[in-house]
């Protein structure tokens, strides 16, 4: 039981290209900023949007391949779909909602209702079986949507932001519930989320989708240890510099030079942690820091006794200094500044 998908899709101005592999029993989180195309990937897998090129294979069943004019309608794919706002059918009871998929597949009514009742029991909302969905709380509606999607015994479960519709107070308990219920499902699962906490709590592996491209795949720890996109770098709170290494110097597209210690030549990422950056008003001669860049302060953001200073220049950076240092330097947006960092404080890895 595997999913192999590699496809592209033009969505307005967004050029989406996705390459996904999900192993049996695995939960892959698709993490990325809003508008990155996460939900569109799910819609393609679910058959709600046709792909433009490439192919999608769910469990050895080819479901979409424009080159051979293959397209399996959503109702014939072995999938379950949990939508962002759950989209329960308001004209039916909760039980009828869960029985719907079986009824649509021509399961006799009594059998469908029996299976649906078991599912409601399993997710713990059996007492709401005869009520309309609008009387459910957000967490209960999510469980009903999950039961509805799982009742047809899909091989691949797609979850689109299942926690986004909940308020912050209930989100963590619902997340815990969801994790428990997802663990009992043995098929493949793909979870779309913009919240790294969801990915951390629920996923085996994470795929980072940024501006229509999957830029990184791995466990969340792997992904955050070596960011390969601005999005992940921002999540972790580090500066990510992209460039080409020649003779121990990384040069960015804008022409900024970053002196680094022992790295292989070629296109590389460099991570500069904000606390390792020192700020000085005037460039100092004879410093042990091998790198010094001139810039202009664009932002000063106090977080308790630490201060994040945004600097624009040939190499845009965010530095982190203490509140005492800020007071001593009297930094304000618009001021000229020099940022310096030791070569040994910069972590470099190949693209």
């Amino acid at each position: 039981m595997t999913l192999a998908a590699s496809f592209s899709l033009q969505l307005g101005s967004l050029d989406l290209q996705a390459d996904l592999d999900v192993k049996p029993g695995e939960l892959l989180a698709l993490l990325g900023p809003n508008g990155a195309g996460k939900s569109s990937v799910l819609r393609c897998l679910g058959g709600l949007a046709p792909i433009h090129s490439g192919r999608i294979v769910i469990d050895e069943l080819l479901v979409d391949e424009p080159a051979t004019d293959t397209f399996v309608e959503p109702e014939n794919r072995p999938i379950g779909f949990v939508f962002q706002n759950y989209l329960l059918f308001e004209n039916m009871t909760v039980l009828e909602n869960v029985a719907y998929g079986l009824r649509a597949r021509k399961t006799p009514k009594a059998d469908a209702r029996r299976v649906a009742a078991e599912w409601l029991e399993r997710v713990g909302i059996a007492e709401y079986a005869d009520q309309r969905p609008h009387s459910l709380s957000g967490g209960q509606a999510q469980r009903a949507a999950l039961a509805r999607a799982l009742a047809t015994n899909p091989r691949l479960l797609l979850l689109d932001e299942p926690l986004a519709a909940l308020d912050a107070g209930t989100r963590s308990s619902v997340r815990r519930d969801l994790r428990r219920h997802l663990e009992t499902f043995e098929g493949m699962r793909i979870l779309v989320t913009h919240d790294p906490v969801d990915a951390y709590a629920l996923a085996d592996r994470v795929a980072i989708l940024d501006a229509g491209r999957i830029v990184q795949v791995g466990t969340l720890a792997e992904v955050t240890a070596h960011p390969r996109s601005r999005y992940v770098a921002d999540l972790v709170g580090v500066n990510l510099v992209t460039g080409v290494v020649v003779d121990g110097v990384l040069t960015t597209a804008a022409g900024a030079r970053v002196v680094i210690a022992d790295a292989l030549p070629g296109p590389s990422f460099a991570v500069i942690r904000p606390p390792s950056i020192s700020l000085v008003r005037e460039a100092v001669a004879g410093s042990s820091a091998r790198n010094t860049w001139a810039g202009t302060i664009v932002e000063v953001d106090r977080l308790g006794d630490r201060v994040r200073v945004g600097i624009d220049g040939q190499l845009p950076l965010t530095a982190e200094i203490t509140a005492a240092a800020l007071d001593a330097l009297q930094l304000r947006p618009g001021d000229g500044i020099h940022a310096s960092v030791k070569a040994t404080d910069i972590e470099v890895y190949s693209v």
């Binding site: 679910g46 309608e73 989209l87 059918f89 719907y100 998929g101 047809t152």
Partner: protein
């Protein structure tokens, strides 16, 4: 229109606005009061049960129900097309299909005549190949009524379909339901209030149809003389009967509007602004 539910808010209205509103209500109420005032109440039942009135009433009911049925059969797919399928010239098609709402019905009748009449664009072939003629037949009445009534159903349904969250239908598809099963179990229940409202509006419009019917189908008792035509004819020959028949039509239309407002337009007040001819 009745203002019943808004009575509590009346105190907030500036006096001149209130005065103008009252004038408007009186303007609409006066003709009705006029009819009620002149109605021959003692003989009302007699006039209603006269042979010509009963014939016209029966014909009206049959024709208007057929027209409603045809409006539903063709209007639901048309509304779906206009609401869901993006195509070039959709605005033009929508305008074309709702034109008969604003057209003088007589003009509609003339247009139908040139299209479906014996020498009409299509009518000549119906005549030549199938020996089938629409004008001056009961079927012609149904065609004329459908022509003016269907748009009421179409615009009501189109707006309901637009308001429906299409992702609910997506959800149904991912659960293994075909397009048709989805339409029956999810879409149709969601738009049922609009379907009933649109159907009743179309029926009331068909029942009151006069201009297109008399132009296209003529005025033959028993085959094409519907209630409105009977009222018109009775004005010449028997004005008292005309008043009674008119009151009956008014009562039906009024009941439809009041019923629609309370039952179907509680939240979504749209079609109640349309006027029944």
């Amino acid at each position: 229109m009745t203002g019943r539910r808004r009575r509590g808010r009346r105190a907030n209205l500036p006096t001149p606005v209130l005065a103008l509103a009252v004038v408007a209500v009186v303007f609409f109420a006066l003709p009705l009061i006029g009819l009620l005032w002149r109605a021959p109440w003692s003989n009302a039942w007699g006039y209603l049960t006269e042979e010509n009135a009963l014939t016209a009433l029966r014909l009206s009911l049959i024709c208007s129900l057929w027209a409603t049925l045809l409006s539903v059969v063709f209007g639901v797919p048309l509304a779906w097309l206009l609401a869901r399928v993006e195509f070039h010239g959709r605005g033009v098609v929508r305008a074309l299909c709702t034109l008969s709402m604003v057209l003088p019905p007589v003009v509609g009748g003339v247009a139908l005549f040139f299209a479906l009449g014996r020498r009409g664009l299509v009518g000549q072939y119906l005549d030549r190949w199938f020996d089938f003629r629409l004008p001056f037949t009961t079927a012609g009445v149904v065609v004329a009524q459908t022509f003016v009534a269907m748009p009421f159903l179409v615009i009501t349904l189109e707006s309901a379909l637009r308001q429906l969250d299409q992702r609910v239908e997506d959800a149904s598809r991912t659960l293994g339901a075909s397009r048709w099963y989805t339409f029956r179990r999810v879409t149709l229940p969601a738009i049922r209030p609009a379907l009933v409202a649109g159907g009743v509006l179309a029926w009331a419009r068909a029942l009151g149809e006069f201009g297109a019917t008399i132009t296209f189908a003529g005025n033959f008792p028993g085959t094409t003389q519907t209630m409105p035509l009977a009222v018109y004819l009775a004005l010449e020959t028997n004005p008292e009967q005309a008043i009674v028949l008119a009151l009956l039509l008014i009562a039906i239309s009024f009941a439809v509007l009041v019923g629609l407002r309370d039952r179907w337009f509680g939240r979504n007040d749209r079609a109640s602004t349309t006027v029944l001819a």
